[in-house]
C-alpha cells in the first residue's frame, strides 16, 4: 500500500501537481489516467524519489518516504520494480544480462542460481529462448516483456509502470496489460500503472485515479467510470468515437 498526502511539485514557477491525496492498494492494479502533459509521469517520479516534491508525504506501507535516510531509501528501492515507457533496457547487454542485472547488483547469488531465476522469470513473460538476444534484435512487445521480467526478478513489493503499452499494437498491448495484472494478483504487489489508453482502463482498471490540471479530479473503478455523469471524466473517457458509441448504446439500454 502506498499513501500519498498533499503532494505538490512544480518546475520553474509552473505548478504541475497541486496537492494530491490518494492511496494505492496492494494486490490491485491502480491506474493513473489523464491527458498527455497532465503530470502523470511527474507524479510517478515523485513517488520514486527521482523528483523531490515541494510538499507532501509518501508512505510505503505506513513508512514515510521523505523522512528516510539515504540508506533506507536505497533499501526501499530494492523493493521497487519499474517498467519504463520505452522499456529502458540496457542496450549494451543481452536479454539475460538485463534481467540478471538487479540480482548481480544486489544479491550474493552465484551465477548459476541467478541464471535459474532469470530463466524462471523469462518463462513467466513467455520469452523462453531469448536469453542471448540483444535488445535491438527483438520487437517492441518483447522488449516490454523483458523489461517486466527485469522489474520483477527481485520480487518487488511495488511495481510502477509508465504507459506500459504505448507504441504497441492493440493485441500486444492487451497481452502486456494482462501480464501485469496477473503478476500483481499472484505476487500481491502494489502496482501503479500510468496510462491514457482507454482499452487498458477497460481491461485492468481495478482502481482508477483521474488526474486533471494537477489535481485528482475523480476516482473509482472501471465499472464506475462508464457510469459516472461527472463531466470532466466523461469528456476524457468519451473523447474516442468507439467509447462514444458504447456510451450511446448503454444509454439506449442495450
Amino acid at each position: 500500500m502506498i499513501e500519498v498526502e498533499n503532494l505538490k511539485k512544480g518546475f520553474k514557477g509552473e505548478q504541475i501537481l497541486k496537492g494530491i491525496n490518494y492511496t494505492f492498494e496492494r494486490g490491485k492494479t491502480n491506474l493513473i489516467i489523464g491527458q498527455s502533459g497532465s503530470g502523470k509521469s511527474v507524479f510517478l517520479k515523485c513517488m520514486l524519489g527521482l523528483f523531490k516534491p515541494e510538499e507532501g508525504t509518501i508512505k510505503y506501507d505506513g513508512k514515510p518516504y521523505s523522512n528516510f535516510s539515504d540508506e533506507e531509501q536505497r533499501e526501499l528501492r530494492k523493493d521497487i520494480g519499474m517498467l519504463f515507457q520505452g522499456g529502458a533496457l540496457f542496450d549494451s547487454m543481452t536479454v539475460a544480462e538485463n534481467v540478471m542485472f538487479p540480482l548481480k547488483m544486489f544479491t550474493k547469488q552465484k551465477k548459476k542460481e541467478s541464471m535459474a531465476r532469470v530463466r524462471e522469470v523469462l518463462d513467466r513473460v513467455n520469452l523462453e529462448g531469448a536469453e542471448d538476444k540483444m535488445p535491438s534484435e527483438i520487437s517492441g512487445g518483447m522488449q516490454k516483456r523483458v523489461a517486466i521480467a527485469r522489474a520483477i526478478v527481485n520480487e518487488p513489493k511495488y511495481l510502477f509502470c509508465d504507459e506500459p503499452n504505448s507504441g504497441l499494437d492493440p493485441t500486444t498491448a492487451t497481452v502486456i496489460d494482462k501480464l501485469i495484472q496477473k503478476i500483481t494478483h499472484e505476487n500481491q504487489i502494489t502496482t501503479v500503472i500510468i496510462t491514457h489508453d482507454m482499452n487498458s482502463v477497460l481491461e485492468i482498471g481495478e482502481r482508477i485515479a483521474f488526474l486533471k490540471e494537477g489535481l485528482l479530479a475523480w476516482k473509482g473503478t472501471k465499472d464506475e467510470i462508464f457510469q459516472t455523469d461527472d463531466e470532466t471524466v466523461t469528456d476524457f473517457v468519451y473523447s474516442s468515437d468507439l467509447f462514444k458509441k458504447v456510451r450511446e448504446a448503454q444509454l439506449k439500454g442495450y
Binding site: K78, M82, F84, A88, M105, F106
Partner: protein, 245 residues
C-alpha cells in the same frame, strides 16, 4: 550565468562520481570494457596520425634549413621537441576529444534519453559512479597512448628525414640527444594526465545532463567536442605557464 551554473553542475557531478561506489566486481569489469572501448579502440588512429605528423614536422624543418651554419642535427631536435611538448600530448588529445569524447557523450546521452539512467537510479544505483567512474579510471592508461604517440612521431620524423635524404641517420640520432631536458617529459605527462581527466569528464557531463531525444544526442556530441577542446587548450596554456616559464 548559465556558464557558471554549468560549471557548478559539473563539479557536483564529480562529487557524485566519487560518492557511493558500485559493487567492486561489477566495477572491475566495467573498467576493462572502457579500456577496450576508449583506449585500445583509439590506438590505430593515434599511431597513424603520430607517424605522419612526425614525418611532416621533419620535412618542414629540413626544407627551411638553407643556412649552412645551422647544423643538420636541428631536424631531429626540432621534431623531438615539438612531438614531445605539443604534438603528442595536445594535438592527439584534441583528436581524442573528437573520437573518445563524442563516443562518451553519445553513449551516456542516449542512455539518458531512453531512461536507462533513470532505471539505474530507481534500482538504487549511483548512476554517476556506475557510468563515469570506470571511464575516468580507464583514462589513467592514456599516458601509454601518448608515450606510443611520441615514439611513433619521432619514428615518423626519422623515416622522413633519413629516407627522404635530408639528413644522415647518425646526424638524426645525434640531434635527438641534443640538449635533452628530462623535465620536459615530466611536463608532457603531467598535462597528459590532466587531459585524460578532462577527456573523460567533460564529455560525460554533456551526456549525463542532456535533455531531449535522439536528435539532441547528436547535437550534444558536437557541443561536447567544442567545449572539451576549449577546456583542453586553456588547461594547456595554464600548465605550460606554470611548469615551463
Amino acid at each position: 550565468m548559465t556558464y557558471l551554473y554549468s560549471i557548478g553542475e559539473y563539479f557536483l557531478m564529480l562529487k557524485g562520481v566519487f560518492g557511493r561506489m558500485t559493487k567492486g566486481s561489477v566495477l572491475r569489469s566495467l573498467i576493462f570494457k572502457e579500456i577496450n572501448d576508449l583506449i585500445l579502440g583509439s590506438m590505430g588512429i593515434v599511431a597513424f596520425l603520430s607517424f605522419f605528423i612526425g614525418a611532416v614536422v621533419a620535412i618542414q624543418t629540413a626544407l627551411n634549413l638553407n643556412n649552412p651554419l645551422i647544423p643538420k642535427t636541428l631536424v631531429a631536435y626540432a621534431a623531438r621537441q615539438s612531438v614531445i611538448l605539443e604534438f603528442a600530448p595536445t594535438f592527439i588529445s584534441i583528436i581524442m576529444a573528437g573520437k573518445v569524447g563524442s563516443f562518451i557523450t553519445s553513449s551516456i546521452g542516449s542512455m539518458r534519453v531512453t531512461e536507462q539512467i533513470d532505471a539505474l537510479e530507481v534500482m538504487g544505483i549511483n548512476s554517476k559512479n556506475y557510468l563515469i567512474f570506470p571511464k575516468i579510471v580507464a583514462m589513467f592508461t592514456y599516458p601509454f597512448v601518448i608515450a606510443i604517440s611520441m615514439f611513433l612521431g619521432i619514428a615518423g620524423a626519422y623515416s622522413a628525414a633519413v629516407f627522404g635524404g635530408f639528413v644522415s641517420s647518425d646526424q638524426f640520432i645525434l640531434g635527438l640527444q641534443d640538449d635533452f631536458i628530462p623535465f620536459h617529459l615530466v611536463y608532457a605527462f603531467v598535462k597528459t594526465l590532466l587531459f585524460a581527466f578532462i577527456l573523460s569528464t567533460v564529455p560525460a557531463y554533456h551526456g549525463y545532463y542532456m535533455k531531449g531525444g535522439a536528435l539532441e544526442v547528436g547535437q550534444a556530441a558536437t557541443t561536447s567536442f567544442v567545449w572539451t577542446s576549449v577546456v583542453l587548450i586553456v588547461t594547456n596554456y595554464f600548465v605550460t605557464q606554470l611548469l615551463l616559464s
